[in-house]
Symmetry: C2
Subunit: 198 residues, 2 copies
């Protein structure tokens, strides 16, 4: 299975963006790394913004696919929350430049900003639904007034743990995602009922 030029460009761009940040990386750099002319690259993608949009779309697609997979599962909701968030962390980390350059990208590419705002709205409602549902099933016990802050905390953590890790995490690369996910999950711990043992 050989990749098309388009796919090779996207893959290489993702690597370079993650390593160096989405500024610092130009169409010429990407082309040079691939050993193709930048003229050719611009034939496929007019500029880096278009590449970023394409990669953002990849991320969204993967997260959507994951959500569909998970909601089909018959596990208990606590397990689903845990698994869903962990695998989201992993996927997000693959596309980490999007979070590392969060504000810059949103400012630069209005289409992504708009889409992301809508996405956050949906995620917030999903979260709310999961929590109230877990509440009803006796998995957690959380006062009504604490729900909104908890969701806000969780979404914020989910978006920015990568940025914090980029600068401050000194441990093993393999443990990075696991460490931050554990800290993420600890947000819910004060409210968990006893029947959760892990």
């Amino acid at each position: 299975m050989v990749l098309s030029t388009k796919d090779k460009i996207l893959a290489k761009a993702l690597t370079l963006f993650n390593e160096q940040g989405s500024d610092f990386v130009t169409v010429r750099h990407i082309a040079s790394e691939l050993g193709i002319s930048h003229g050719n690259l611009c034939y496929h993608f007019a500029n880096t913004d278009v590449i970023i949009e394409a990669l953002y779309q990849q991320l969204v697609d993967k997260l959507n696919e994951l959500t569909i997979q998970m909601t089909g599962l018959s596990e208990n909701q606590l397990t689903i929350l845990y698994q869903l968030s962990y695998r989201s962390f992993e996927i997000l980390y693959q596309y980490r430049f999007l979070m590392l350059d969060f504000v810059r990208i949103m400012r630069r590419i209005p289409a992504i900003k708009l889409h992301f705002k809508a996405l956050m709205q949906i995620r917030q409602e999903q979260f709310k639904h999961i929590i109230t549902s877990m509440q009803a099933n006796g998995f957690i016990d959380i006062p009504e007034k604490n729900i909104a802050p908890l969701i806000e905390q969780a979404l914020l953590f989910g978006d920015f743990w990568i940025s914090r890790a980029e600068i401050l995490f000194d441990g093993n690369e393999q443990e990075k995602t696991a460490y931050y996910h554990k800290t993420f999950y600890a947000l819910f711990e004060p409210y968990l009922c006893g029947n959760a043992d892990w």
Copy 2:
């Protein structure tokens, strides 16, 4: 009291950085906004990185001054935690471009990255000290194993609420800091003992 050219440059740069992001803003832009030549500006600050370093230093100085002020207070520790974090949020918001462009700046200016890592180490220990002290005085009740995650959550939130707000907060500008600080403070609420009423 008339500002020196140096101070005028720093003030204008801060405004432009906050509005547009620290990339997009060049020495020429700043000079143009001030109505001075960029040659003159470069006489005072060789490039934007130097300006960013100077502004970062201003922020650190203000936060240090605040910490000194607050530790001198005779209020109870809960009040101090609340006040200290709230005023930190306000100061940080004044220099918000540093957080909005967090990763980019740290990658670009190693001196800031090093300093920031050291600063975070200190902050973490301060937090730990406050929490164990509050624990000893019966203000909070938190299991030992939850302390480290709570501190990590608090520091992460403290650094990145501004980025989230920049894209997603739709409310009144005046209420922004208050809203996120409230959410920040809610991190501690599950562990607070009854004698805290606000």
